[in-house]
């Protein structure tokens, strides 16, 4: 089966090419089925290769298959070849497996979209790039895949590009990733400079043999780390990931949760001998960056109301765990968490997509509530994903997170504390999300604060109009009474009686009008007072919207429409992937159980890729048990507090939703202001320097030449005889010169 490894990326590539040229003709849903089939076929081949490899001895589980020579340039020789080893194959398994499920899901999710084939074209291109990234046998090929997934990420974030915000989010992701890519490129250059090759086999075997200077290893490791934090959204380059949620939800699940964002962790795991040879502060820096990002992102996730934003910050936080593991030398734990995270985070994202699908595109959790009655499958699977990420045993997330925390304790108790606090926050915000979405009061039919405000404004305008109309009626009545009085004065003896009767009648009308005006004014005052005194609607109305009954008739029709069209469960193409991922989220922990050496299957499997750089725990079994119990208790605390705040409402939930957390510690805005303010001034100064000094020098030379030429061209007047004079004078001059030099 090992000979067929080229099929793994080739199938999605073929799918991409077919869809590029005949996607429109295939149309919906066949374009989707073709793309799904390509990735599923790729998965089958991966499983075949895996079964081939899994039975072999450790040293036999690593092989390089070279397809052809790609860049033969002097000393630089780069081949297109595949490095098949346990690490790349593990990545391939979940990329193609989870990828195929998400492709299937997308057929349901993207139903009815005008650009249905284009979506699947990009998805297949992404799968191809991601597989090249992990399978490439050298840094340059990995970089090719690295840029390929970046381009696909850009294309898919701004998939609905007619909306300005989506296009901007795509650009933001692309530009932020450039910083990381710079680090990656510098690392490639330095690798070639040092090793004379960019192939992993050369680089890793040389470093593993310990013949590389520490400073070189440090520099390469740091530069690749810069690349990794860009792609894997770590502090401070995480900024693009929350915005990347502008893309369709399957994209968020596939690219921005399960696969692409883990490629930084993959890269660092791949180069573990380099990190081992680097200075001691490099792993420490990786660990603290991961731990810091995990905690930082978890605090932000607590206060988000957008269902996908919560999951986005959660992803950043979980990637932080993986970096923490890499920094602690726990590569197996990092890969373990990467796999389980791919299962449960893809599940959660797809579940949120199903909810958004059922809610007709609404992503605000304030409008959800009680959805488990309308979408039982989504709710059930989402709850499994929640238990997995919250670290509840025996779900997959518990095992991987527990292992990372154990290694963090092994490294430094301080790292463990940060990880533990993050675990509490994770349990809290995920419980909050589940309670807000699937439990409690149904809020989808509630009038929204802006709708209520609009109804009150309309009512005020109507009251004011009534006052105005009454005032005009009074004026009219006064004029009529005056006219009648004039008629009395002008009337003769016979008709004066009728005229006086008319006056009495007119004054009666006037009195009624005045009374009506007073009534209207009182009413307007009442309405205004009521509007001023009305309860401010909370953004998140857990207990129900206060007293809108009086306004019920005046609310816009959309409220009634929403109430009539309640949320609905998604089609089977969407629920089947949810079910499969839910099963995987339950059973994912089986690949690496910490009980004995034989249950640590992943560790044995990954052995040839780790060059014995995996750190071994130096703490006893008793301590491990205590750590596990503390971690479970921490998760329990998070869940309990969230249920108390959002489910039972014993605690005021606004305590947790601080504005500064909702605004992500204002870090994004600060960066924007810095780049937009002083940064922009700096760029403009550079542009001015370029215009004035650089362009000035060039243009100055041109002006000088033109001016001199203007003088010289006068001599070149086209008259033959003038030239003849010139030649004659020149000849005379030469003669004089020769004579003056001769010695007679």
């Amino acid at each position: 089966m090992l000979d067929l490894v080229w099929l793994i990326p080739a199938l999605p590539l073929a799918g991409f090419l077919v869809l590029t040229f005949c996607g429109r003709r295939l149309g919906e849903p066949w374009a989707g089925w073709l793309a799904t089939g390509a990735v599923a076929g790729s998965f089958l081949v991966t499983v075949g290769v895996f079964l081939d490899l899994v039975g072999r001895e450790a040293h036999d589980r690593r092989s390089v298959t070279t397809l052809f020579e790609w860049v033969p340039a002097g000393d630089l020789r780069v081949d297109v070849g595949f490095l098949v080893d346990p690490l790349s194959l593990t990545m391939c398994l979940f990329i193609t497996g989870v990828g195929a499920l998400i492709h299937l899901y997308s057929i349901g999710y993207m139903h009815g979209d005008g650009d249905f084939p284009r979506f699947f074209t990009y998805l297949n291109l992404f799968a191809f790039s991601m597989l090249m990234l992990v399978l490439g046998d050298n840094l340059l090929l990995t970089f090719l895949g690295w840029e390929g997934v970046g381009a696909c990420s850009y294309l898919l974030i701004s998939f609905w590009f007619t909306d300005e915000a989506n296009a901007t989010a795509g650009k933001k992701a692309f530009v932020t990733n450039r910083i990381g890519d710079w680090g990656f490129m510098v690392a490639i250059f330095l690798t070639f400079f040092t090793f004379g090759s960019v192939a992993y086999v050369d680089v890793l075997d040389t470093t593993a043999a310990g013949t590389v200077a520490q400073s070189t290893a440090t520099f390469v490791a740091v530069m690749l780390f810069v690349g990794a934090i860009g792609k894997s959204a770590q502090f401070p380059l995480y900024l693009w990931l929350p915005d990347a949620m502008a893309g369709p939800t399957p994209v968020s699940a596939l690219i921005h949760a399960a696969t692409m964002v883990t490629s930084g962790v993959y890269l660092l795991t791949r180069i573990n001998p380099v990190i081992a040879d680097a200075a001691d502060w490099v792993p420490t820096m990786i660990a603290w960056t991961g731990a810091g990002t995990a905690l930082f992102a978890a605090t932000i996730a607590v206060a988000q109301r957008d269902i996908k934003k919560v999951l986005a910050y959660s992803t950043v936080s979980q990637l932080g765990y993986m970096f923490l593991a890499v920094g602690c030398g726990a590569y197996v734990a990092a890969v373990f968490h990467m796999v389980t995270h791919a299962f449960f985070k893809a599940l959660l994202f797809l579940g949120s997509g199903s909810v958004i699908h059922g809610m007709d595109g609404d992503q605000d959790m304030a409008h959800y509530g009680g959805l488990r009655r309308f979408m039982p499958v989504t709710a059930g699977t989402f709850i499994i994903g929640w238990l997995a990420i919250a670290g509840v045993p025996p779900f997959a997330g518990f095992w991987s997170k527990d292992e990372i925390l154990a290694f963090a304790w092994n490294e430094s108790p301080l790292l463990w504390v940060v990880g533990l606090v993050t675990a509490v926050l994770t349990a809290f915000y995920m419980t909050r999300q589940v309670v807000l979405t699937f439990f409690g009061r149904c809020r989808f039919a509630d009038p929204r604060p802006d709708e209520v405000a609009a109804a009150w404004a309309a009512r005020l305008i109507r009251a004011d109009e009534a006052v105005g109309a009454a005032r005009i009626a009074v004026d009219d009545a006064e004029a009529a009474a005056e006219a009648c009085r004039g008629a009395v004065a002008a009337a003769d003896a016979e008709s004066v009686g009728d005229a006086e009767a008319a006056v009495v009648e007119a004054e009666g009308v006037l009195a009624v009008a005045v009374e009506a005006l007073a009534g209207a004014e009182d009413l307007a005052t009442d309405v205004r007072a009521a509007a001023d005194a009305r309860a401010e609607l909370p953004a998140l109305a857990l207990d129900g919207v206060p007293d809108v009954g009086a306004l019920a008739d005046e609310l816009p029709e959309t409220v009634a429409t929403r109430a009539a069209h309640h949320p609905h469960e998604s089609p089977w193409t969407m629920t089947i992937p949810l079910g499969v991922l839910a099963v995987l989220s339950v059973l994912g922990g089986l690949i690496q159980l910490p009980f004995s050496s034989t249950t640590k299957r992943l560790e044995h499997w990954l052995e040839p890729a780790l060059f014995h750089n995996e750190v071994h725990l130096s703490i006893g079994a008793g301590t491990l048990w205590v750590l596990a119990v503390v971690a479970v208790a921490a998760g329990g605390v998070g869940i309990a507090v969230a249920v108390a705040a959002y489910g039972r409402r014993r605690i005021d939930h606004t305590v947790f939703e601080r504005p500064i957390l909702a605004e992500a510690w204002r870090f994004d805005r600060t960066v924007s202001n810095l780049v937009g303010g002083p940064g922009r001034a700096g760029f403009e100064a550079t542009a001015a320097f370029d215009r004035r000094v650089v362009d000035g020098a060039v243009e100055g030379v041109a002006t000088l030449v033109r001016r001199e030429a203007g003088v010289l061209r006068r001599f070149h007047n086209g008259l033959v005889r003038t030239y003849a004079v010139g030649i004659g004078l020149g000849a005379v001059g030469l003669v004089i010169w020769f004579l003056s030099r001769s010695s007679f």
């Binding site: 061209r713 001599f715 070149h716 007047n717 086209g718 008259l719 005889r721 003849a724 004079v725």
Partner: protein
């Protein structure tokens, strides 16, 4: 009266000067051509006289080169003059200054 080499050299100088002055003051291209020929032949005369005086065959050899070059030059030059005259009757060299800067 002995005609010495100096006489030939003086004649050559006079002919050369006549040619040079004619080239500078006349505007008819054909006349200017004749002036150039005059100058060339004045130089030829000088070569021959000095070659005879010094007993050096090089002087006469140079004359052959000059004659060959002059013949070629005349062929090209006259062709140019004829071409110009076809387009512009009675043109002088001063009229042909379109390439002036």
């Amino acid at each position: 009266m002995v005609v010495t080499t100096s006489w030939y050299l003086a004649l050559g100088a006079v002919l050369f000067s006549l040619g040079a002055v004619g080239l500078l003051i006349r505007r008819n291209p054909l006349v200017m051509f004749m002036c150039v020929e005059l100058m060339l032949n004045a130089v030829n005369l000088t070569f021959v006289s000095l070659g005879a005086e010094l007993g050096d065959l090089g002087g006469q050899l140079s004359v052959f080169f000059v004659l060959v070059v002059a013949a070629a030059e005349v062929v090209v030059g006259l062709a140019v003059v004829v071409a110009i005259m076809r387009r512009r009757q009675g043109a002088t060299t001063d009229d042909l200054s379109v390439l002036g800067g």
